[in-house]
Subunit: 336 residues, 2 copies
């Protein structure tokens, strides 16, 4: 780890187990202004007697998932899931070979799906995510996740989480924070693995959702998933679902795209110390570099606009450069 | 506390602080079958090595509020709140003196409100609960609660919670359970005092809700409450909102009316040990006695039907007789 940065600060550290040198809770974060802004915030709100001290029950942190906690390129993981479901279900739907959007999708790939209109993509989601009980859907996701791999790296999608963010989740939890995931992805999709991968239990996951109804099926009380969107949990919807679910304004929020703008605004709208963080995908060598903030004109999912970048600077949000601020991105990658 | 009951069992107790006699965590519960069924369930799911052991993260308990955790007679507390709001807002709405349902309500009382059609009552709720930010509404509820008193006892509504249920909440929490309130009342109404009174934080409160939208008002990002019902959290809706919010099936559920039937069914639909509890209001001397289960034909809010009583017996749910199973109902009442 480099300590050459002139903005380097002493990071409050915990003593190691063997009583030796203190252990840095954020070893994948390079020393510098970004890391300092996070650590200073946590120190300010957790140090008794600090004018910015926040009691434990109010230490709420919210995290976007796709592009913030794990990789969402070349396309969001749930789109790959939907694609695989279409292929698997095609034999039960012979009409799909001549019906759009399924015909194109069966002949295409993830780019075909991403190029679709929102309403066509919604048709695909409903055809692949509804028509079963919530417990059946959970098992389908679990089985898929156990073997589904990233198209470029060949790694399991579950291994494509960002190591610095896993460290941050643990660091906040160790300081009395309750971490919530506030995803644009489906809530029942994320909940299947959030506890195992992020140590975030299902009741701390908020996401997009479809309609469910209570029914007694073969004598068993179940919830059936119906093909009707209830919440598309993005942009303006995020503060709304945060309030519905948590009932408190977060004091820290983490995102990476225009879909997270309102969540950060809402978080910063409260009094006292607030932390807003945007992850900038600027590392083409170790992950992907994309979005208008980098002068790239082709829009991509999760794009980070120049306007949002400027808003972040004005508002005092912290922008994380994956290239400069993280010495590792994935656990499998060597330290550099 | 009487130990004469022949069904008396040894209750697992915690040592007292001074190392003396063990302390009963449920002192307001009389010894007997009811208390035994609760304590046995908790022992079964929390004893390591027990065939019915449940890991801590899966120890989810859900509680109805009105009539289960506090008194809902002669009318639900939130109806008194709506009535007081109508009276307070009347000067800003001169038309209310000639417009129904407001005219009747201004001339009437809680019985007038309870006799209204659902749609009329909904009009009243929207006129009194919407049109402000979520934070403004929270302050309105908080101020009202600080002084609002029960019409029969003259006690603060906040002091009309059931002592045995407060003990039960603490007992479960001490055994690794996460307690959720699943109320037909408004989620933002209950959240204002649930942490203080029940030690249940806002993120563990589920309830009825109206639409909210994100807006920037005078430069401040806020959520505005709109007069549109989103969820009436009763009956079939309870399992749906439990799943939306928690993402796990509870292993214990507590209710007192037909509005809780589906929550108990859903809870018991899972495998392993399950606890379903219905509180029967059969104590006219210390609280109220009401509902068809007691042969009373006049329907009242929160009524407990004979059919639900029979279903409880068949399903192995525990029916709590407030008269026989509780030696105290309210903290202010002498032990008897």
């Amino acid at each position: 780890m480099s300590h050459d940065d002139p903005t380097d600060v002493t990071i409050r550290s915990q003593p190691s187990d063997d009583g030796g040198a203190p252990v840095d809770p954020l070893p994948s974060w390079r020393e510098g202004r970004t890391k300092q802004s996070i650590v200073s915030f946590v120190e300010n709100v957790t140090t008794e007697g600090s004018p910015l001290f926040v009691p434990v029950p109010e230490r709420i942190a919210t995290f976007d998932n796709d592009g913030t906690l794990w990789c969402e390129q070349p396309g969001p993981v749930q789109v790959y899931f939907a694609l695989d479901r279409v292929r698997e279900l095609a034999s039960q739907h012979p009409d799909w070979s001549t019906t759009e959007p399924f015909a194109s999708l069966l002949a295409g790939d993830v780019d075909t799906a991403l190029a679709m209109s929102t309403s066509a993509l919604l048709d695909v989601v409903m055809a692949t995510h509804a028509g079963m009980t919530t417990e059946e859907f959970g098992r389908i996701v679990e089985q898929w996740m156990a073997t589904a791999r990233h198209p470029d790296t060949g790694e399991l999608f579950l291994d494509m989480t960002y190591l610095p963010m896993l460290e941050l989740l643990a660091y906040l939890r160790d300081h009395g924070f309750k971490n919530f995931i506030v995803s644009g992805g489906g809530v029942e999709f994320v909940r299947q693995w959030s506890e195992r991968v992020y140590d975030v239990p299902p009741e701390q996951v908020i996401g997009s959702s479809i309609k469910t109804v209570f029914a007694v099926r073969d004598g068993a009380p179940v919830l059936l998933r119906l093909p009707q969107l209830v919440v598309n949990n993005d942009e303006d919807a995020k503060p709304v679902t945060i309030n519905q679910h948590i009932g408190r304004r977060p004091i820290a929020a983490f995102g990476n795209s225009v879909g997270d703008q309102q969540m950060l605004e809402f978080t910063h709208g409260g009094g006292g110390a607030r932390l807003g963080v945007l992850v900038l995908h600027d590392d083409a060598a170790r992950e992907y570099a994309y979005g208008p903030a980098l002068g790239m004109t082709t829009p991509r999912v999760g794009a980070f606009t120049q306007a949002l970048h400027e808003q972040a600077e004005e508002a005092g949000w912290t922008v994380v450069s994956m290239r400069d601020d993280w010495n590792r991105i994935f656990a499998s990658e060597p330290l550099r």
